[in-house]
């Protein structure tokens, strides 16, 4: 169809009134014909919104999503297996309780003994060592500065499933601000080092549910332990005016590989 015909058509009908095939043909034409595109935008600027390009996505990203989904599926299957054996409640699942406390002027690094949590370790916006978790849980406290990541090293619990049961956001006054994971706070786990050549390691992922429940998982592709795998935990605060945050991380973990071998 010629440009003149398209413009006549546009005068008679809006783009939504065109038959679907004709509409697609018309929009395709607009993508390659700048003069018609300009004419269409002058007649109805909202047409331009239909010409926005597709999101660019790398092939590697698709593959990463595929691996993560398959890993999530495997973990769910393992969980279901444990549920059937009546062991799911506390055995396979792990719990992460994260609290972010706004305390701008309390450098915990200077007085770690004041931390009222068992297992608390050095705190800072940089590298933090976390003791190995075997079972039962542990607590670390991290200071996270706005738009920065806290790096947790030596978290040798991979492969591990962490289950986030609750996020507590507590103001410096001690007042509870929020108690739902994901309500504006994004917690993301990822590996700090390059994937080893021996096999892929899955990045952590986060499952958010409307009720605030979530899961964070980190494990190797073959569900084998990955010793001394550094883990990055990044938290994006909700309010931009928050300059400094205290992140309280409580977690326990069990090793799916162990469970698997028992199966």
């Amino acid at each position: 169809m010629s440009c003149a015909r398209w413009r006549d058509l546009l005068l008679d009908e809006s783009v939504d009134e065109l038959a679907e095939a004709q509409r697609d043909e018309f929009l395709l034409h607009l993508q390659v014909c700048s003069s018609c595109r300009r004419a269409a935008a002058e007649a109805d600027p909202t047409v331009v919104f239909s010409l926005l390009p597709e999101e660019r996505i790398e092939e590697g990203e698709v593959e990463e999503i595929r691996r993560t989904v398959q890993a999530m599926r495997r973990v769910r299957a393992l969980e279901a297996s444990w549920s059937r054996r009546g062991l799911a409640a506390g055995a396979f699942a792990a719990m992460v309780m994260l609290a972010i406390v706004l305390i701008p002027e309390r450098p915990l690094r200077q007085s770690p003994e004041e931390v009222p949590f068992a297992g608390a370790v050095g705190v800072g916006s940089g590298l933090v060592s976390v003791p190995r978790v075997s079972s039962g849980g542990s607590v670390v406290e991290l200071q996270v500065e706005l738009a920065r990541s806290a790096r947790v090293s030596d978290l040798s619990t991979s492969p591990t499933l962490h289950r986030v049961s609750r996020l507590e956001v507590i103001a410096s006054t001690g007042e509870l601000v929020d108690r739902n994971l994901g309500n504006g706070y994004r917690i993301r786990f990822s590996l700090a080092r390059e994937m080893p050549p021996s096999g892929p390691i899955l990045k952590g992922f986060q499952l958010l549910q409307p009720d605030g429940q979530g899961e964070v998982a980190l494990f190797s592709a073959d569900l084998k332990p990955v010793p001394d795998s550094p883990l990055i935990l990044s938290v994006t605060p909700a309010a931009e005016e928050e300059e400094q945050l205290w992140l309280l991380l409580t977690y326990s973990a069990d090793d799916p590989a162990t469970l698997l071998s028992e199966n």
Binding site: R37, P45, E54, R66, L207
Partner: protein
């Protein structure tokens, strides 16, 4: 334990199959077919979910959950349905849930870019002369003036160019309702454009609309 070992050879059998065939195999628990489904649908899902949430990272998390749901609910899929529509429905619902969740925290309407006033091409005569990034920013800002239903319909039908029937099935309403929402959304967007970006609004067009123009 050969977990998650990917074989490109075994994948080949599904690359030429139709969506319905792949979905049927997924229903039977075929992991390779599920792999193929993920490969096919990740791009379009990521596209739509990103448009709805306005957040690429969040969209990525949601897309992963979508596929997990597809696998877990695969036995509920009715072969008479379109696999594409079914999967998109799960995705859109999850994305909308996420946006509503944010809205309850009064954070959904976070500042969408005061940068919008510092467009790269201030002398551009029409929206068509702007860069895609700038058009996207304007769309996001104008969309705030739409009702929730209008916004989702416009994103799916007006931006992603899905058909009215498919959008209706995804959002759970009639195709005619979709068309009505789409018409109302375009009208509202033109009004908002006139109000917020008069330099890109067509002269006289919206004054007619406001005067009660109908289809």
């Amino acid at each position: 334990m050969p977990f998650l070992i990917y074989s490109s050879d075994s994948q080949q059998s599904w690359t030429a199959a139709a969506d319905t065939e792949v979905m049927a195999a997924v229903q039977d628990g075929d992991e390779k077919a599920f792999d193929e489904l993920i490969r096919r649908k990740t791009q379009p899902l990521l596209q739509v979910v990103t448009r709805i949430t306005r957040d690429r990272e969040e969209a990525r998390d949601i897309v992963q959950v979508v596929f997990l749901r597809v696998w877990e609910k695969r036995r509920r899929f009715d072969p008479r349905w379109s696999p594409n529509t079914w999967i998109f429905r799960i995705a859109v619902n999850l994305a909308i849930d996420q946006v509503r969740w944010r809205q309850t925290r009064e954070q959904a309407l976070r500042p969408l870019g005061t940068h919008l006033r510092s467009l790269k091409n201030p002398g551009a005569r029409t929206l068509a002369d702007l860069e895609d990034r700038e058009v996207t920013g304007i769309l996001e800002r104008l969309s705030e003036g739409l009702t929730e239903k209008q916004r989702w319909v416009f994103l799916l039908a007006g931006v992603e160019r899905l058909g009215s029937d498919e959008v209706g099935q995804i959002l759970g309403c009639k195709a005619s309702t979709v068309r009505n929402h789409l018409f109302a959304a375009r009208k509202r967007l033109r009004q908002e454009l006139t109000r917020q970006y008069p330099e890109y609004a067509p002269d006289g067009r919206d004054s007619n609309d406001q005067g009660g123009a109908s289809q």
